[in-house]
């Protein structure tokens, strides 16, 4: 049946391609004419790719909303380079969180000659897509892909504005060992590039800090039945359960844990640190710990202002990676301004040595394209909300550390 879904998806995608292509022609022709005459404008196309449909669409839409907001702000600011005003156009694409779809939509953006890409959301989609952007010379900033492999491939076009899983997993593993004083840790992952990646690092760093790993189980990113895994884990009597995966699985898993009477502390990484988890898991979420590669919105230097602006525009709260998506977009603009050009090849070198103060804090990249000194925050679920309990590392003053 997956096959049929894929078929339909491909058909839809190709229809969208045709329709999108037509619409674009219509738009670009008059724009080119007017560009030659009175108001001098340069069209800058920015791609945003995330899962816009499917189980993870709430997170993907959140990123798309942020990028659309950033484009609106940038167009209102009337930025001009070389005497021409920049006109930002957002091209949103849906990769369905599917590694097979990611190169397809990436190629579509490359063919449309976008100037830069914000995305993708998942590590599993970001990694295969990054090769296509690299070949096409299109700079890419992922607001959320945390798997280390993404920037380890040696692509000059690949950047990210979040700490990677090595940084995040290490902090979480140490937190489990030292702060939670875990003696028996059980680990579950969803076998995706992201979930397995972060779970591996947590396992390694918790082991190094003296915790025993009593069970290592797997599920998939489509499963809903975790009873068998959880029952097996229960038999090993863990005091902490770490899950490397996404809220879509974590929600029902927490409910099922409660049903089985498992009382171990549940810990996850950024994939479950969403507001959606409370909807999916209900009361069972209470007390869950989750890390996030960044500061909580209210502790971001300009977080409150952004939260308000986002809500005013979209009539909903920030779900997860909206601030990072907004920043990624603005980092591109900053690099374009510095380079005095909107051409990918020209502003790419500026991107590598950017020093930009975003909503999320200072953004600088190391030579691989990873963010320098990305802070990591531990959150606890309390009364249907995430409450920051500790911030570890980061360029921002470490005063928050408790």
């Amino acid at each position: 049946m997956n096959f049929s879904c894929a078929c339909i998806a491909t058909t839809l995608a190709s229809i969208a391609l045709v329709v999108g292509g037509c619409a674009e022609d219509k738009k670009s022709q008059p724009a080119a004419k007017s560009g030659a005459s009175a108001t001098q404008t340069t069209i800058v196309k920015i791609g945003i790719v995330a899962p816009l449909t499917g189980p993870q669409s709430h997170i993907g839409k959140d990123m798309e909303n942020a990028v659309r907001l950033a484009a609106e702000d940038a167009n209102a600011a009337k930025i001009s380079i070389g005497g021409k005003e920049l006109q930002f156009q957002v091209m949103a694409e849906d990769d369905q969180a599917d590694p097979k779809m990611a190169p397809v939509v990436a190629q579509k953006l490359a063919d449309a000659k976008v100037n830069a890409v914000v995305g993708h959301f998942n590590s599993g989609t970001t990694i295969p897509a990054s090769k296509i952007y690299s070949d096409a010379g299109i700079p890419q900033i992922s607001p959320s892909a945390t798997n280390p492999k993404y920037t380890e491939q040696g692509f000059k076009t690949a950047f990210r504005v979040v700490a990677n899983d090595n940084q995040q997993g290490k902090v979480v593993g140490e937190y489990i060992a030292r702060e939670l004083k875990s003696k028996a840790l059980a680990i579950i992952d969803d076998r995706t590039a992201y979930g397995q990646g972060v779970a591996d690092v947590v396992e390694k760093s918790a082991l190094a800090a003296g915790t025993k790993v009593v069970a290592r189980e797997f599920t998939t990113d489509k499963s809903t039945d975790f009873k068998a895994i959880l029952t097996k884990i229960k038999s090993r009597k863990p005091d902490v359960i770490f899950f490397g995966g996404i809220d879509t699985q974590a929600g029902p898993m927490l409910k099922q844990m409660k049903g089985l009477g498992i009382t171990a502390q549940y810990v996850g990484a950024d994939g479950i640190q969403s507001t959606e988890l409370f909807k999916l898991g209900g009361e069972a979420v209470e007390g869950t710990l989750a890390s996030f590669p960044g500061l909580p919105l209210e502790r971001m230097p300009q977080g409150q202002g952004f939260g308000g602006k986002y809500k005013a525009k979209w009539n909903q709260d920030v779900v997860l990676y909206a601030p990072q998506g907004y920043d990624a977009f603005n980092v591109f603009i900053e690099a374009m301004k510095k380079a005095g050009s909107t051409e990918s090849a020209k502003f790419l070198p500026e991107l590598a040595r950017i020093d930009y103060n975003g909503i999320t804090g200072p953004i600088r990249f190391d030579d691989k394209g990873d963010i320098k000194d990305g802070p990591i925050t531990m959150f606890k679920a309390k009364g249907g909300k995430w409450e920051a309990v500790a911030t570890i590392g980061g360029a921002a003053p470490a005063a928050e550390k408790k």
Partner: protein
């Protein structure tokens, strides 16, 4: 021991749900010899409809008791699924009744794809969380955890199956169904309305599927547009395991499959020294299907062969 008991409890709960769905496959097969692959989608439609109704009622804030809210969900889901099953039979299967066996089988797969995509258009591709209608209480039995929801699922499934057996064996409708299953032509000559008996098999199966849909989404806390596919395949496996066309066989097959899956998933890690993990749970169902088809193609209780049963 407590882990064995826990997997046993999980297995029985899952097995009762499989059994309810398997009955739908088996009744239809028994009476028209068709494997209705779209039956799993009825479970999905039932689950999502009940969920939507429950969500709407909760949002309305009428302060109804949980049991009333759940019952309201079922009262909408059951007729809708029955209507859908009727439409399926009338539009897709009846015109093909005399056709070679392969034709209705392919049609069934087509119906399944259509239903899945209609559901996707209607409900979207998102996962729906089952609303917190009631707080489940967990009881501890000899170290294993049992929730009131699990007990409810098993009891309700048992009651429904008893009810179905009563309909099939104690009523005129049941007699007509059995007669049609035996030989539709002869039954017709004796004054049995074969079409009516066939529709009844579809409708009864659909009602059970709707209940199973609500059960499975409440049990796992989640529902989505393609949940019916895997569940349908598993239930089909359960029906084959028990002997397709055989009503008692479907019940036995469902329970057994649930137990095999749970116990298999629970112990495979220990048996293979953690080489294979409990994530191989889904493999067991199909392993069972292969083994049954090779060793005992007619299932544990035997296929219902119309001439000689």
């Amino acid at each position: 021991m407590d882990i064995f008991l826990q997997q046993l409890i999980n297995g029985i709960t899952l097995g009762s749900i499989y059994a309810l769905v398997a009955l739908g496959y088996t009744m239809v097969y028994g009476i028209v010899g068709l494997i209705n692959f779209a039956h799993g989608e009825l479970v999905m439609v039932g689950a999502l409809t009940a969920l939507s109704v429950i969500q709407a009622l909760m949002a309305a804030g009428l302060g109804l008791p949980p049991a009333a809210v759940m019952a309201a969900g079922l009262l909408v889901a059951i007729p809708l699924c029955m209507l859908l099953a009727y439409a399926m039979e009338r539009i897709a299967y009846r015109p093909l009744r005399g056709a070679p066996r392969l034709a209705p089988l392919i049609t069934a797969i087509g119906v399944s794809i259509v239903l899945q995509n209609v559901a996707m258009l209607f409900w979207g591709r998102s996962y729906f969380s089952f609303p917190a209608v009631f707080a489940t209480t967990t009881y501890s039995v000899a170290g294993a955890a049992v929730t009131d929801l699990q007990i409810l699922i098993v009891l309700l499934a048992g009651a429904l199956m008893a009810g179905l057996l009563a309909i099939v064996h104690r009523t005129r409708l049941g007699l007509a169904m059995r007669a049609t299953a035996e030989n539709a032509q002869v039954a017709g000559l004796m004054g049995v309305d074969a079409n009516r008996a066939i529709v009844a098999a579809f409708l009864l199966g659909a009602a059970l599927a709707a209940v199973a849909g609500l059960m499975v989404s409440a049990y796992y806390g989640i529902a989505h547009y393609y949940m019916g596919f895997m569940l349908g395949l598993k239930a089909f496996t359960a029906a084959v395991l028990g002997g397709i066309g055989n009503i008692a066989g479907a019940m036995l097959g469902g329970l057994l499959l649930g137990l095999i899956e749970s116990l298999g998933a629970g112990y495979i890690g220990d048996l293979t020294g953690d080489v294979l993990g409990s994530n191989y749970q889904d493999v067991f169902a199909f392993l069972v299907l292969i083994v049954v088809l090779t060793i005992r193609p007619s299932g544990l209780l035997g296929e219902r062969v119309s001439e000689r049963s």
